[in-house]
């Protein structure tokens, strides 16, 4: 995993440990996100992919280990520096997290209004350009409650790219989108990376889409990295784990179930003797 030297790394995670209450999520994980590339993160539902993005964004603090973003420890810097770093990254939330009291237009305009002093006409053009990219220029006057789930997430995407950040983290950007939109979003992510040099991190379950678009892929399970490489490398992997996950097979080393006591025992426990 050390094929990149440090200056080529956008995010460098070492020995990360994190727990939600008693449930250990990460147990000594190392992780690199190369600059200007698309890195995909895959893993079973509930392994902590969303948690990982929040740790990178500095919203959760690890129990141990370090998360360096552009060489700075995001959990050690002052509040001002944290906010300065956050202006350079954006996180597309799994839920969209649109402001329900603002129109689509104002949602996309929000980061611009907060962080820039652009004249209104220029701001309007910028917002309309971002909305055009996600195909929702015509929906600018709608309120978030009037959008479908997929539309809301596309608005969130437009908002995430509004400030032209250096790094964008996408939490399941394809979920709930029709095939055409998925294609458009993939093209968009590729275009942002190739033309603007933006670093992208995509969390998704869509194996097929991810292997087409990403430069590197990580697979995490059980609090550790279990697979890493280019899509081609992973596709030819001998690991039973990776084969099962990429092939979508129910049986294999990847547990489909949340940790639980034995099934038969659990059912029998309800039978009073």
């Amino acid at each position: 995993m050390s094929q990149h030297d440090d200056s080529a790394l956008m995010v460098k995670i070492r020995d990360l440990r994190f727990a939600h209450g008693a449930r250990t999520i990460f147990d000594g994980m190392d992780f690199d996100i190369p600059r200007g590339k698309i890195t995909a993160i895959m893993g079973p539902s509930g392994t902590g992919k969303t948690t990982l993005l929040r740790l990178i964004g500095g919203q959760l603090a690890p129990l141990a280990g370090s998360v360096l973003v552009e060489g700075e420890n995001i959990h050690g810097v002052s509040r001002d520096n944290l906010y300065r770093l956050r202006k350079r990254m954006s996180l597309l939330f799994q839920t969209g997290a649109l402001f329900t009291d603002l129109t689509v237009f104002e949602n996309v305009a929000f980061p611009l209004r907060e962080h820039t002093r652009l004249p209104e006409s220029m701001l309007r053009d910028l917002v309309l350009m971002k909305l055009q990219v996600v195909g929702l220029r015509g929906a600018r006057d709608l309120m978030p409650a009037e959008l479908s789930g997929g539309m809301a997430r596309r608005v969130a995407l437009a908002r995430a790219i509004a400030l032209d950040p250096a790094m964008i983290m996408y939490d399941e950007p394809f979920t709930g989108q029709d095939p055409i939109t998925v294609g458009v979003i993939m093209q968009l992510i590729r275009m942002l990376t190739d033309t603007l040099g933006i670093t992208s991190i995509i969390v998704s379950h869509d194996v097929h889409e991810l292997s087409m678009i990403s430069d590197y892929m990580y697979m995490i399970a059980g609090g550790k990295v279990v697979g890493y490489g280019t899509p081609q490398e992973l596709g030819h992997s001998e690991s039973g784990w990776i084969r099962q996950f990429l092939g979508g097979l129910p049986d294999g080393p990847v547990p489909f179930h949340y940790p639980a006591v034995d099934y038969a025992q659990d059912l029998l426990a309800g039978v009073t003797p």
Partner: protein, 260 residues
Amino acid sequence: MIDWFQNLGRTSLAIFERLGCSGLFLLRVLAALPALATRPRLLIIQLYSVGVLSMMLIVISGLNVGMVLGLQGYNTLVDFGAEDSLGQVVALSLVRELGPVVAALLFAGRAGSALTAEIGLMKATEQLAGMEMMAVDPMKRVIAPRFIAAVLSMPLLATMFSAVGVLGGYFVGVGLLGVDSGAFWSQMQSKVDFYDDIVNGLVKSVVFGFVAAWIAVFEGYDAVPTTEGVSRATTRTVVHTAFAVLGLDFILTALMFGSD
């Protein structure tokens, strides 16, 4: 018995912990206030939704309470042939007690609960987290303007409550029951003291407004980010504000009017 003491200990620890949390939270809110100076628009929007939209309720309630005071006061005073003092009775009750207290209770129900629900839902739907990720401090952008709008609105609403209440009392006493209009106003003017009554009443409403605003934004920000959590937080806002206002009212009244 030991269980009982254990429970008592645990409960009081929990209460102190919560007081501590809300105290720290208040410090953070106060620290975020100066940032508002450059964004007056944020405050104006909140003044409208917190203050202006509460006016209808306050005016109608004030009018009602004033009319009831007029009726009850007249019935008592007329036995002593003292119905000319009606203006004084109505005005003193309103300015010293009912204005600040009832307005604060109504305010908690109308605006405080709405603030808690709004902030709690913003938390539950990750809007606050999203804001933080966009390097916008929710304390400055969301909490501070709502807090200060509530603090500023309360004294104005309490004053409005008292003023409308006096009119209600006048309407019943003078308009319907035949108290002399000149006596109504002159008794009021000579017996209601500016500092002892009006200023003290205003001080009360400022204190109540501060506490109501603090509880409302804290409960919202601290809410468990689920549907149930937000609904509980909303209830807590109304209940805690009511207790706090009634308790503080007793203390303030003892301090202000106790030595007369």
